[in-house]
Amino acid sequence: MNALALAVLAALQLSLAAEPPVEPDPRDKGPDKIDVSSYPPEQKARYPLYEQKCAKCHPLARSINSRFTSAEWKRYMKRMARRPNAGVTDEQTQDIYEFLKYYSSTLGLQ
């Protein structure tokens, strides 16, 4: 029994040692957030606007998990920007759209 336990431990140690480096978790900065540390400066600058405006009415997670393409975001944002209390100008809508388009591209969605 002891020998079996030792063998399991040894195998576990080996598998852990062989594990490749872990990719940064997108939730590293906390839930409902996107880790934008590797994003281009212009997208980093747009992130606070996206966070501030979209989280007014729903959790940010809803958009993070939507897996929309850029065309889908374009149509969806039209709906959102026309909601009561949205408070998003055309320029801000464009900025949020550009950010979400880039986010979609990082997920392999076009």
Binding site: C57, H58, A61, R83, P84
Partner: protein, 382 residues
């Protein structure tokens, strides 16, 4: 046919009709390469009350809120959406609507939709607000002394869902967005006082030939990101109609609301008021001077994050009913009945799309005993 059988039959018909519509639209959308989106949320809440007598006559215990929404972009300007909800009153459709959106200043929604009344109507889903309970003025059934024989729920329980046409749009005046909407709908229904249950459990048709209607106007300062002062809004709403079958008893409700983002703080306040006609044929326990009653109330709340995983919320709210108690009402109910409630809550988000809500409430009614209550809820949204 028993009431239970009838309701089951109605439910089955609704399910069948909704399924057929959904399947047809999905098939059509898929074949045409149209965008189809799904979203939804689920929430289970356990509510404990310190006073056993109050607990027995309140919807304490565990309740669930579930919702699933489908949206289909039929064309660049036309969208179909439907949202089905499951909660205390069974299955219901919060929306089944077509929206025509040619211009930002002119859009039309037709079908069954959530009527825009108050700021909370934007955040009525459990994933959209940090407290476990809705403000008393907008409570839809999860409140103490909310029975028909007592306060009969809030001023305008939300979501207020109705069938009709809504025209809405927005214009910018510099950095200020003006959102406006006006609608014609079936209106509230009931016999002598509004019957909120029947509005959700029987056919989605008008109870009389008189349409209800109303509107909402919101002015929002669209702040740039990162400033000390964030988006700030003031709004006003009104809704009116006749609620009895004969179309003789009327109601009028209005509300005012304000929200402000200040650094990491979100401040909100709303006031709502309703006057409801009562039947002159009914026999009242008091000498009647006015055949109507008024109901009004407010809430003020403050939210702020605490680190990356916690959100805190503090709220004070109140509800007041002034006027004749209905025949058959609780003997404790007076002509001026008030409830004040103090709430503190925390939302823990350990994982994207998953949240835990904890809430403490102190209830102080004028006509009933005071008590403490605790909520514990678990939910998620996608």
């Amino acid at each position: 046919m028993t009431e239970r059988t009838r309701r089951t039959a109605v439910l089955a018909r609704r399910l069948a009709a909704a399924s057929a519509v959904a399947v047809l639209l999905l098939a059509r959308a898929a074949s045409a390469g149209q965008a189809v989106s799904f979203s939804g949320s689920a929430f289970a809440d356990r509510w404990w009350l310190s006073d056993q007598t109050t607990s027995k006559r309140s919807p304490s215990g565990t309740t669930i809120d579930g919702a699933i929404k489908i949206g289909v972009d039929i064309s660049e300007n036309v969208t179909f959406s439907s949202k089905a909800c499951v909660s205390c009153h069974g299955l219901e459709f919060e929306s089944i609507q077509l929206e025509y959106m040619p211009k930002s200043w002119f859009n039309v929604a037709a079908g069954r939709f959530p009527v825009p009344f108050g700021e909370f109507s934007n955040r009525v889903d459990q994933s959209g607000h940090k407290t476990t309970s809705a403000p008393l003025i907008y409570d839809m059934g999860r409140m103490a002394y909310g029975e028909k024989t007592a306060m009969n729920l809030g001023v305008v329980p939300l979501p207020y869902v109705d069938t009709g046409v809504l025209v809405y749009g927005n214009r910018f005046l510099g950095p200020v967005q003006a959102w406006y909407g006006a609608y014609l709908v079936g209106g509230f229904r009931g016999g002598n006082d509004v019957d909120w249950t029947s509005m959700r459990s029987i056919y989605y048709t008008n109870s009389n030939k008189v349409p209800g209607g109303g509107g909402r106007l919101v002015l929002t300062y669209a702040a740039p990101a990162g400033g000390l002062i964030g988006d700030t809004s003031i709004g006003g709403s009104v809704t009116t109609g006749r609620y009895d079958q004969a179309g003789t008893l009327g109601y009028l409700a209005w509300g005012a609301d304000a929200t402000m983002q200040l650094w990491k703080l979100t401040l909100r306040g709303e006031y709502a008021w309703r006057r409801t006609d009562l039947s002159p044929q009914a026999s009242y326990p008091y000498d009647s001077s006015d055949l109507w009653y008024k109901k009004d109330g407010y809430y003020v709340e403050l939210e702020h994050p605490l680190g990356s995983y916690l959100g805190m919320v503090y709220r004070v709210d109140g509800l007041q009913r002034v006027g004749l108690p209905l025949p058959g009402a609780d003997p404790e109910l007076t002509t001026r009945s008030r409830i004040t409630r103090y709430t503190a809550g925390v939302v823990i988000t350990p994982e994207t799309s998953f949240f835990v809500k904890l809430g403490y409430e102190y209830w102080r009614p004028s006509d009933f005993p005071s008590f403490n209550s605790i909520h514990f809820g678990v939910g998620g949204a996608f």
